[in-house]
């Protein structure tokens, strides 16, 4: 899951980025409000962690702007401002969650997963497609009850496809989900990962839409 972290404090931003990476997130870190808004508008993040006291542009303003632009990705406000009016305003402006510093990294990660799940209309903790069950918190995949071992990238790719089940995802979209900035993406990386997934999970799960991209089928196609 690729998320945007907007935090101006060097020490805290560094810690959050490292911690969330440990917990399986791809983290892009920006340190001012302008950059946060620019990135949120440009990239398809699964979620964003937004500090309110950002330089150049306040977090509240960034949030209001991206919501006005029609962007619906889940946004979690992580701030030191704990006054009730601040919380109310944050949620009213368009935040999906409001967390006061300091926060436990595991709790932050769980909140982000819950936000992403709900944003894709998945109230359950796990994602299910056909006989494949994916648990984002445990980062585990089971097929027909048996555990399937996936590499980190394969897991992330399957996660992205399952979150968008029934929709065609282009190769570029999948790449943006998988890779944070500065990571070299091999031109055929997605194809390779899809190939591995099919080998491990069977070919009925992921369909190729020639010239467009890939689609995950939630139900077994009727013959």
């Amino acid at each position: 899951m690729r998320i945007l972290l907007a935090e101006d404090d060097a020490l805290l931003g560094d810690g959050l980025r490292a911690g969330l990476r440990q917990l399986g997130f791809r983290v892009d870190w920006v340190r001012d409000g302008d950059a946060a808004e620019r990135e949120l508008r440009a990239e398809p993040y699964a979620a964003a962690v937004l500090d309110l006291g950002l330089p150049l542009k306040d977090g509240m303003e960034v949030l209001a702007n991206v919501r006005r632009a029609g962007l619906t990705m889940p946004v979690l406000i992580l701030t030191a401002r704990d006054a009730v009016p601040d919380r109310i305003r944050g949620l009213d402006v368009g935040a999906d969650d409001y967390v006061v510093k300091p926060v436990d990294l595991n709790e932050l990660a769980a909140r982000l997963r819950a936000l992403v799940r709900r944003a894709h209309g998945q109230p359950q903790e796990t994602l299910t497609a056909q006989d494949v069950v994916l648990d984002p918190a445990a980062r585990s995949v089971h097929q027909a009850g048996a555990p399937v071992v996936l590499a980190a990238r394969e897991f992330d790719l399957l996660h992205a496809l399952m979150l968008n089940g029934g929709r065609v995802m282009s190769r570029e979209q999948l790449e943006q989900h998988l890779y944070s900035w500065g990571q070299e993406v091999e031109s055929n990386a997605i194809e390779v990962h899809i190939h591995h997934l099919r080998r491990k999970l069977g070919s009925a799960l992921i369909q190729t839409v020639r010239g467009v991209g890939y689609m995950l089928l939630r139900d077994v196609p009727k013959p």
Partner: protein, 441 residues
């Protein structure tokens, strides 16, 4: 207030009445005496004339009839050649005034059988008629009292009425004041909006304005304190959040280099929180008005000592640091506080300057006193940020250094304690920030 006003008005009215009564008493008595004495004289004259003409030699004295209820209070005697010829019923047989020798005509007040009488004596040369006409003095007093009574009654009736009227008027006049008292008593301590009293008299306007001005200033003070608390919470929460995040990363990190990095970051966060707490404590001590212990100290020596303490930090950043303070400058001040001031300025210059920058501390003599300048060749501040420099927790944006901005508040407070002036400008020599502190001579 109401009682005092009531006593004042009633006392004044009573006093005026007493003076009026006394003056009336004197006046009426004088006029009454003149009038009644006139009557006595007239009556005596009448008797003298009458006796001289009409009374024959019938020496038998006659008691005149009592004709009026007032008659017992007046009496007369007529003597012919020393013998009683005529007298009123209540007049004694002997002359009312011991006459004979000198006293033959005129007024005299005498005691007859324990009663005071006002007597007029008249003498007619023909047939040696001696007439005495007397009047009891008490009858005069009775008239006087009657006159005074007629004055007293209205006052006795008017005084209670006046008291009620004054009480009512004062109550009415004081109603806005009582309303103000009630309003203030009912107020919650945090309600600091202006007091509005319906129908307040113009006399109350200055007081209300002053009160509302005070409320406004208190509200401003509380608001700035509230903001400070919120800012302080923010500033403390961020390093604590960082410490927590970094510690958790270190716990979960398998890679050795990564774990060391996280642990170092944890320590850095602790240092930052410590510095912040120290600054907050310094500031709170300063704002609590801890009085500076003033002594004479050498500003140059102080600057050299502080720069010596901080030089290693500058060296680590590859910065050049120098002091231009050769001559001793004696100023009066608190050496501990002034060291904090200089340390904050120099620390700030080192922290916010780029690597290989120059930091310079100068102490010089000015016409007005001593001047301390801390300047650097760092990025400086843009003109827009200069006025906001002193605001607590204001930090220059886009700077990698993790300062809290509290240092500036501390510098300003300490300068304030020493009546020194702080100015921020662009350094003409080095191009970065220059902070000038002017101490009075």
């Amino acid at each position: 207030m109401q009682g005092r006003l009531l006593m004042l008005v009633l006392g004044l009215v009573a006093g005026v009445w007493l003076v009026t009564a006394a003056m009336t008493w004197i006046d009426v008595r004088h006029e009454l005496d003149e009038l009644l004495d006139g009557h006595l004289a007239q009556a005596a004259a009448l008797l003298v004339v009458q006796q001289a003409r009409e009374i024959d030699d019938d020496d038998q004295h006659i008691d005149a009839p009592t004709l009026h209820r007032y008659a017992p209070k007046v009496a007369f005697q007529v003597f012919h050649d020393g013998r009683l010829a005529l007298r009123s019923a209540n007049a004694p047989a002997v002359p009312m005034v011991e006459s004979g020798e000198h006293f033959r005509t005129g007024f005299k007040t005498v005691q007859i059988e324990g009663t005071a009488w006002r007597v007029f004596a008249a003498h007619g040369g023909k047939r040696d008629v001696q007439v005495y006409v007397g009047e009891q003095v008490s009858s005069r007093a009775a008239i006087l009292w009657a006159a005074l009574r007629s004055m007293l009654w209205p006052v006795l009736v008017a005084l209670p009425l006046l008291a009620v009227a004054v009480w009512w008027a004062v109550s009415r006049g004081m109603a806005p004041l009582r309303g103000l008292g009630r309003t203030l008593a009912e107020r919650q301590p945090q309600a600091l909006h202006p007091v509005v009293i319906e129908g307040a008299p113009s006399e109350m306007t200055p007081m209300l304005a002053a009160l509302n001005g005070l409320l406004e200033r208190i509200a401003g003070l509380i608001e700035s304190e509230r903001r400070f608390t919120a800012d302080a919470a923010h500033e403390l929460r961020t390093p604590i959040a960082a410490i927590r995040a970094q510690a958790q990363v270190a716990l979960g990190e398998a890679d050795d280099a990564q774990r060391k990095h996280a642990l170092r970051s944890t320590l850095e966060g602790c240092d930052r929180a410590t510095r912040l707490v120290e600054q907050l404590l310094t500031l709170s001590r300063l704002e609590a008005g801890t009085s500076a212990t003033t002594s004479t100290l050498d500003l140059s020596a102080l600057a050299r000592q502080v720069v010596g303490d901080l030089a290693p930090a500058a060296m680590r950043k590859g910065q050049a640091i120098e002091v231009d303070a050769a001559a001793a400058f004696e100023i009066a001040g608190d050496s501990t506080l002034l060291a904090v001031l200089v340390r904050n300025l120099v620390d700030n210059a080192i922290r916010y300057s780029l690597e290989n920058a120059t930091v310079k501390v100068t102490v010089s003599r000015q016409p007005t006193g001593a001047r301390l300048v801390v300047e650097d060749s760092g990025t400086g501040m843009n003109e827009r940020d200069l006025p906001r420099l002193g605001e607590r927790f204001f930090r220059v944006l886009g700077n990698d250094e993790s300062g809290s901005g509290l240092g500036w508040s501390i510098v300003r407070r300490i300068a304030g304690v020493h009546r020194a002036e702080v100015r921020v400008a662009r350094s003409p020599g080095l191009g970065g920030l220059a902070v000038e502190v002017d101490f009075p001579a």
